[in-house]
Symmetry: C2
Subunit: 333 residues, 2 copies
């Protein structure tokens, strides 16, 4: 294991210190318990958005804290859910009285710990709604999951619901928007290589030199099948087909196409993937009106990619376009 | 070699098609010869900025084409300079009559080909100035280089000179700003792993499981020394010491600290590096007033990092803060 770390036990603690040092204009960081909050939180009158989960998926979630997106993010240990305590602390820190939306990727530990934190917050008279993100079409149930997994679509839920909160929507309305985004986004990924969790020191799975895992989970959980390496276009076809069938997407739809790097993928490869994905969509009469390409929901140094397609309407497009100012996503200010 | 590509010969051509599909709101792409231009180029009355070089360093340079930064970028084959033809074509396409600044990383092929293109442009009455970027303190001369190499500092030259052009500075003034940024920025990098050039199919160098290369070049060229893996903080000390001695930076200086991932480095590691680099600077009385963390000048899937320190003054800070709208760097609009 070769990593730019000190003690594997301190990876998250140290990264969060660095994050605060780099982005102190946007965030403040609580170190005990660990959470990252928007610098101007609580924002009076605004519904607060809180998300979190195991670390190792950066920039998710801390990189999306700021104006127009999350009010707080709770980074757990690498690939491990944060406990209810820091979730509760973050929830209390950012609530302005307008209520808090918990955005939770569908993993058993995250769901349970956010639920406990929401119950504890309710006992302190903080109104909490929860939206579970489960955009991954690869597998129905899996390791760590009852039902589908929450993956790269999470960033779109956070962006669009964050814009709804910023324009003044109330808690029910923000939760409805988040639910709508989750219902209209589908994702599937592929891994070329595994990744190494620092405190484990070994890859969590092994792929032969000519093998890839179609439908990989963001913790390296098994996907649909392990196949021999194919040209990029063939791999894109394998990822897009189940995505497009699932909603289903139809000719005439306008969509956002997100090509997400898993952390170790060169950017040229992401654009080669985007090229073919956009061509396949065009062929089916599906119009890509918004695009996002880069590392947004990663698995440490894993090489691979996920493709997400979100069906847009005028409202979602307007909210997606609205200004955002976070460490990892920024426009309009 | 496991890559998300089709034919290795088509990597750059296909990536550029994907780039155009994803960012057609910002850029237009010429496919023969290949260059990426700002969508609204030529911008009347504005000095144009043109850069380029071998591909494989994305988002450099195409990701920095747009308002407030480059007017055109010419991607050569992977790790290989573009020829004079596309450089000339891009230069002609973006010149509005106010002249063109060529920003060239100091590699023999790039310098020669941009020089030839500048001569050809001059013969067509286009005024061209050239600024060579050579911010890498690791080695004096190297493979492909007479003098120091141009590395991650290039992105700061492009950002700040781009803002000067956008505010209306004339060609001499924009060239002077670019020269000033280059004179005040110092960089050094480290590699944990090599990368594989697609058409080569093999790593360009080999590192043992416990070895790292201090002072690596962005094409995998040898640096200062190959050592055993050390904790991140010790590696940061090795990179920062020669940087700080070289200008030299002094107590009281305000600086921009850029921690740049080489392409395959997990973001948590970049922030662990940032944390210690910021602490070392603080200890020396050097104030980090601007920060940039992410993948900006990469070497395909190489794992590693470079640290750049740019000495700021009020003018450079104001130009750095000015709005920018490119695929890979965006704020203020």
């Amino acid at each position: 294991m070769k990593k730019l770390i000190n003690d594997p036990k301190n990876v998250v603690d140290e990264a969060v210190v660095g994050f605060e040092a780099a982005h102190g204009d946007i965030v403040t960081v609580s170190h005990d318990p660990i959470y990252i909050a928007r610098k101007d939180a609580p924002v009076q009158g605004k519904v607060a958005l809180v998300s979190g989960g195991g670390s190792g998926h950066e920039p998710l979630h801390g990189g999306f804290v700021g104006y127009g997106m999350l009010d707080a993010a709770i980074p757990g240990p690498v690939f491990t859910s944060p406990t209810p305590d820091p979730i509760l602390a973050a929830t209390k820190a950012v609530d302005s009285g307008a209520g808090v939306l918990h955005i939770v990727k569908n993993y058993t530990g995250d769901v349970l710990n956010f639920e406990t934190a929401a119950d504890l917050a309710a006992a302190e008279d903080i109104e909490v709604r929860t939206v579970i993100v489960d955009d991954d079409v690869a597998v129905k149930d899996s390791l760590y999951t009852a039902g589908r997994r929450g993956v790269a679509g999470t960033v779109l839920v956070e962006k669009i619901a964050g814009a709804a909160a910023e324009r003044g929507d109330d808690l029910d309305a923000v939760a409805a928007i988040a639910t709508k985004v989750n219902s209209q986004v589908r994702t599937m990924g592929v891994a070329l290589t595994p990744c190494v969790v620092p405190h484990a020191g070994e890859p969590s799975f092994v792929l032969a030199d000519d093998e890839i895992e179609i439908g990989i989970g963001i913790h390296g959980e098994p996907g649909r099948e392990r196949i021999k390496l194919e040209p990029a276009d063939a791999i894109v076809d394998r990822l897009l087909a189940p995505i497009l069938e699932d909603l289903p997407f139809a000719s005439g739809d306008k969509v956002l196409l997100l090509v997400n790097g898993m952390g170790g993928t060169p950017q040229v490869e992401l654009y080669i993937v985007f090229r073919h994905a956009a061509a396949v969509l065009a062929e089916k009469g599906i119009e890509v009106t918004r695009s996002l390409v880069g590392n947004f929901v990663t698995s440490l140094e894993m090489q691979g990619v996920s493709i997400s397609v979100l069906k847009l309407d005028d409202e979602l497009t307007e909210l997606y376009d609205a200004p955002v100012q976070t460490a990892a996503l920024r426009w309009g200010r």
